[in-house]
Symmetry: D2
Subunit: 337 residues, 4 copies
C-alpha cells in the first residue's frame, strides 16, 4: 500500500488527536516527524506513538525530505505563514481552523497554495461527524427538497478564560466559525447576510475584553434559505451540538451523542445520561474521518472535501458577525469580502 508520509507541526491537544488517528487508524499514513517549540512535550508525544524524529523548529518538519504532507496544529497566528512555507516546499497541507483572522492574510496563503499546486484542507472536522454527514446526505439526495430554514444549536460546556478571547478573535471567530462552516455545508449555498443579537450573560470578564458569550445569529443564503445559529459559552448540561434543516419536502434533525442509551424510571421521573461532554469525545469519529479522508485524497490524487476557500468564507462570515454586533444591524457579506 502506498503510504503518505506526514509531518505534524504542533503537538498540543489537537496535534495529539491527529497524530493518534494517523498512527492508529490510517493505514495509509506514516508520521515521520513532529515539531513543537515545547520540545519535551513533543518528544513525549512522539515516543508514545513510535515516531522517531522530533524537532523544535517547524521548518525542519517542512523541509524534511521524506515528508510529503504537513499537518498544521500550531497557534492560529502561525497558520498562514506555515501554509505559505509548506506550499513553497511543495508539501500538501492540512491546517487547523481558522486559517487566520485576516482575510488578506488568508488570501495570501491561498495564493501561495495555488501557485505551488499543492493541496490544502482546512480542519472543519464537524463536517465528518456521522450525525451531520447524515443530514448533509439527506439534503444532497433531495430528501429535504429546497432548504428553507437551517437551525444550528452550538453550546460549549464552559467558557475559555476571558483572556483567550483576545487571542482567538472572539466567540464568532473561535467557536461560531465551526457553525458558519456547517451552515454553508448543510445548506449548500453561500451566506449573503448576517444579523447578530449577542450579549454577555455567562461571564462579565468576557465582556470586559470586548467579547460576547451568548448569541443568536440569523443568516441569509444565496439560494433563498435562511438560518439561525444559537451559541452559548456555557451549557451546564454539557456540550450541545445539534443541527436541523427544514425544506419543501421534509425536515431532518440531528441530536447530540450520548455515552450510552439507558433510561432509568424511578418514582420521581425518568432519567438518562447527559450528552458527551467533551468535544474530543463527541467528535472523535469526526476527527478520525477527516484525517483518513485527507490522507486518502492526497495519496489518490482526489479533491479534498474542505477547501481553502471554505476557510476564507467562514472567517468572512465571522467578521460580518462581529460588524453586525458592533453596529447593531444586518451586515451583507459583500461589505466584507
Amino acid at each position: 500500500m502506498k503510504k503518505l508520509k506526514l509531518g505534524v507541526i504542533g503537538t498540543g491537544r489537537i496535534g495529539k488527536v491527529h497524530i493518534a488517528t494517523l498512527v492508529q487508524n490510517v493505514p495509509q499514513a506514516e508520521v515521520v516527524a513532529v515539531a513543537d517549540l515545547n520540545i519535551e512535550g513533543a518528544t513525549e508525544v512522539a515516543k508514545g506513538f513510535g515516531i522517531e524524529t522530533v524537532y523544535s523548529n517547524y521548518k525542519d518538519v517542512i523541509n524534511h525530505p521524506e515528508v510529503e504532507a504537513i499537518v498544521i496544529c500550531s497557534p492560529t497566528d502561525t497558520h498562514a505563514q506555515y501554509i505559505v512555507e509548506a506550499a513553497r516546499a511543495g508539501k500538501h497541507i492540512f491546517c487547523e481552523k481558522p486559517v487566520d483572522l485576516s482575510l488578506e492574510v488568508i488570501r495570501g496563503a491561498l495564493e501561495a497554495v495555488q501557485k505551488a499546486g499543492v493541496k490544502l484542507m482546512v480542519g472543519f472536522n464537524r463536517r465528518f461527524d456521522p450525525n451531520f454527514l447524515k443530514i448533509k446526505q439527506l439534503v444532497v439526495e433531495g430528501k429535504i427538497g429546497d432548504p428553507h430554514i437551517l437551525k444550528i444549536t452550538s453550546r460549549d460546556p464552559a467558557p475559555p478564560p476571558a483572556e483567550y478571547s483576545a487571542v482567538s478573535g472572539g466567540m464568532f471567530m473561535d467557536m461560531t466559525i465551526h457553525d458558519f462552516d456547517m451552515a454553508r455545508y448543510i445548506v449548500g449555498s453561500e451566506v449573503t447576510e448576517v444579523y447578530v443579537n449577542a450579549s454577555v450573560l455567562v461571564d462579565p470578564e468576557i465582556g470586559k475584553v470586548g467579547d460576547v458569550d451568548t448569541a443568536i445569529i440569523t443568516l441569509s443564503f444565496a439560494n433563498g434559505a435562511m438560518g439561525v445559529i444559537d451559541n452559548s459559552r456555557k451549557a451546564v448540561y454539557g456540550y450541545d451540538q445539534r443541527v436541523e434543516i427544514f425544506g419543501s419536502k421534509g425536515m431532518a434533525c440531528a441530536d447530540n451523542n450520548f455515552p450510552e442509551n439507558h433510561r432509568y424510571f424511578a418514582s420521581d421521573g425518568v432519567h438518562g445520561s447527559l450528552p458527551l461532554n467533551f468535544f474530543m469525545d463527541r467528535y472523535l469519529e469526526a476527527y478520525a474521518n477527516e484525517m483518513k479522508i485527507f490522507c486518502e485524497a492526497v495519496v489518490n490524487g482526489l479533491s479534498l472535501p474542505v477547501s481553502g476557500d471554505d476557510g476564507l468564507k467562514s472567517v468572512a462570515i465571522a467578521l460580518a458577525a462581529k460588524k453586525s454586533n458592533a453596529e447593531h444591524r444586518p451586515v451583507k457579506l459583500s461589505e466584507i469580502l
Copy 2:
C-alpha cells in the same frame, strides 16, 4: 341519526367511564336508564349526565322497553347471569371482562346469546388503544412478516388489596387476562400452551391469600409464534404497558404514553416525566373507542371486534396459567378447553 338506546348496569368506576363516553362522545348513543344496588351513587351519576331513569334493580334496566342494548359493569360474578337475562330479553350486550371465572358458566352465557341472536361484545378495551391498534395494523399489513416473538410488559402502579385477589380470581384472571387477550389479538392465532414462572415479591399478604404478584408467562401459539408476558403488581414509576412483536420482516414496539414530551437537561442528567400513571388516563381513548365501535356496530348491524369467544379464550388461558403455576410445568390449552 339513528340512535342506540342503552341501559347501563353498574355505576361504579368503570360504569361511569362508559356512561361519560356514551353521553359526551358517542352521538349515536342515548343512555336511557342506569341501575345499581347503590341507588344513591347511581342517582348522582345519572344526574351528572342528564339521565332521567335510575333503578336499584338491574332487571328494570334489562326490561326497560326502550332499551336496546345493555352495558354490564357490575361485579364479575353477576356478568354471566345478566348476559343470559339480557339475551333472553332480546337486548344486545356489552360486558366488562372477565365474563366469568368458570368456563362452563361462560359457555352457558354464550349459548344464551347465540340462541337469542343478539350481539355480545366483551370489554377488552386495550385492543382500541392507539398504540396497540398501530401494532396490530402493522401485523395485519404484513409489515412484520410471520410473527415469531411477542413481548408484553404489563405492570400496575400498585397492588389491589390482598382480599381482592380471592374475589377476582387472582392476578392471572383480573390483570393478565388483558394481556392474554392482547397476545391473541396481536399474534392473530390461538394460544396452545402456557408456562408460568410466578412469585410473591411485592406484598406477602398477596401470597397469604394464595395469589402471586410477579410473573413471567411464556406462551406458544398455533401458528408457531411464541410469546412472553411479564407482570408486576407494583411498578413504582407508574403504569407500564408495552407491546413488541418481532417477525420475519421486522419488529414493532409500542412505548407507554406520557402526559407530555418535555426533556429537562440539568447538570445532573436528563430528566422527563413518568408515563401516565392511571389506567383511565392511559386508556382514555381506548375506552372511548371501544364504546363508539360497539354502538356503531350495533346500530349498523356490523360484526363486533371482540366476541364472546374472545372472552372465553382469555379465561381459559388464565386457568391454564394458574394450573401451570400450581403444577410447575407447561400446560396445554387442550387440558383446559
Copy 3:
C-alpha cells in the same frame, strides 16, 4: 355547584370547539345562548349540544339576561366592538386572539373593560398545552436559572389561502402572534426589540398580497434573554410546535405530540408516526384547559391567567415584526408602543 352561564358569539370552527368543551367538560359551565349570522349553522351546533337559545344577532346574546359571560369567537374585526358592548352590559369576556390589528382599537376595548370592572381573558390557548405548561413550570421553579436563549419552532402543515393574509393582518399577526405570546410567557419578561428575516418560499401568491410565509424572528427581552422563532406556513410532515428554553442552570425542550408511540424496525430503517397534524388535535387539551380555567376563575372571582394587556403586547410585537421586515432592521418595541 355554582354554574357560570355563558353566551357564545360565533359558531364556526373555534366556536364549536369552545362550546363542546363547555358542554362536555366544564361542569361549572352552562351555555345558555349562541349567536351567528349563519343562523342555520348556529342552530345545528346548538341542537347538537342541547343548547336551546339561538340568535342571528350577537347583541341578543350579550343582552340575554341570564348570560354572565360572553365567549367571542367571531371574526377578528368584530372582537373589539363586541368586547366593548359586552363590558358595557356588565358581562365577563373570553375573546379569541387577536383582540384587534390596531393598538389604538385594542386600547379602547381594554379601557371599556376596565371601566366596567368585568374580567377579560384573551384566547392564547397554547399556554395551557401540557408540554408548554411543563416548560413554564420549570422556568418558574428556577430549574432553568436565568433564561438566556428561547427557541420556538412553529410551522403550520399548510398555508391558508393567500387572500386570508390580507384579512388576517399577515403571518406575523395570525400565526406568529401565538409564538410572541408564548415567548413572553415562557421567558417571563417583555420583548424590547424584534428583528425579522422573512421571505416567500412556500407560495408566490402569498408574496403577491404582500405577506411572507417563512421567517426567522430574533427577539430581545427586558431581562437580558434573547429568543428566536422560526416559522413556516408549510411543513409537509405536519404541524410542528416545539419550545426550548436555555438558561444558567439547565435547558428544557418540549417536543411535538404524536398520535401514539410506536416504532417500526424494518430492513430499511426505523419508522414512526408523524406528529399530530391538526391544531385542534394538538391543542385539544389546551383548549379544554383554557375554557375550564376561564370559567373557574370567573365563578370563583380569581384573576385570569391571560390578560387584555397580553393581547395588546402580542399585537405590538407583531407590528414591530412587520416594521422590521419592511425596513430590514431591528425595531424596538418602544417605536410601536
Copy 4:
C-alpha cells in the same frame, strides 16, 4: 510504565480485534508473539500491527520466555487444553467464551488454573459495554431496589451456517451463553432453574442439525428474581441487544446503539437509522474495555471481573436450557451442576 507482555493464540476475527486493542489502545500491553495454524494469516496480521514473532504452533507462544499472559482466541475445542498448558507454564490467561462445552472439561481446566496460581479471565465482553455497565451500576447502587424481573432481548442479524451449530454446541451454547452471563451479571445472583420454549422459525436447515433458531427462555434466580431472554438468529433490522431490569425501586433499560441520532420527518412518517448491525461495531468499546481491564488487573495484581467460575456457570445454564428444550419442562441447575 510496567508493560504486560502477551502472546495471542488464534489470529482469526476475534483474535485480530484483541490484537488491535492491545496494540493501539492499551499502553500497558505489548504483544510479543502470535500463533495460528494458518501461518500466512497470522503473519499478515502480525505485520499489520508491528508484531515480530509469529508461530504456527501455539506451544511456542505459551513457552515464549518473555510472554507473561496468553490470549486464547482459537476454536472452542482447544480452549481447555490451552488453558491447562498455559497455566502449567505459569502464564496468566484470557480465554474467549465458552471455555468448553463440557462441564467436566471446564472443571479440569479451572483446577489447573487454581493449582498454578495464575489468573484467568473469560471473554464475556458484553459486561463491558457502556450500556450494560450503566444498568449494572444502577443495580449495584441500589437504584433498582430488589431485582424482580430481568429482560434480555438478544437477536442476531443473520444465522450462521447450519453446520456451525453442530460444532458450536448450538444456539444456547454459542449465542445465548452471552445472555446467560449477562443475566447473572445484572441480577447479581445465581440461576437456579431454566425453562425453554424454542423453535425453528428462521431456517429449516438449522432444525435438521438438531438446533433451534428462536427461543424464549425463562430463568429463576437464587435471590427470588426471575428473568426472560428472547433470542432470534435473524433480525432483519440488524443486531438487537437490549437489557431491562425491574425492581422494587425502579426500572432501567438499555436501548441499542445507533450509528448516529438523526430523525427525518417526511410526509410519509418519521424515519431514523437502524441500530449498529455488526457485533464488532456494537461491542467495539466493550472489547477494548475488557482487554484494558484484563491487562491492568494482571499488571497491578488485581482481581479479574470475569472468573473461570463465570465461564463454568454460563455453560451449565446452556446445558440446562438444552435439557429443558429436549424434555419440555423446567430444569433445575442442580440437575446439571
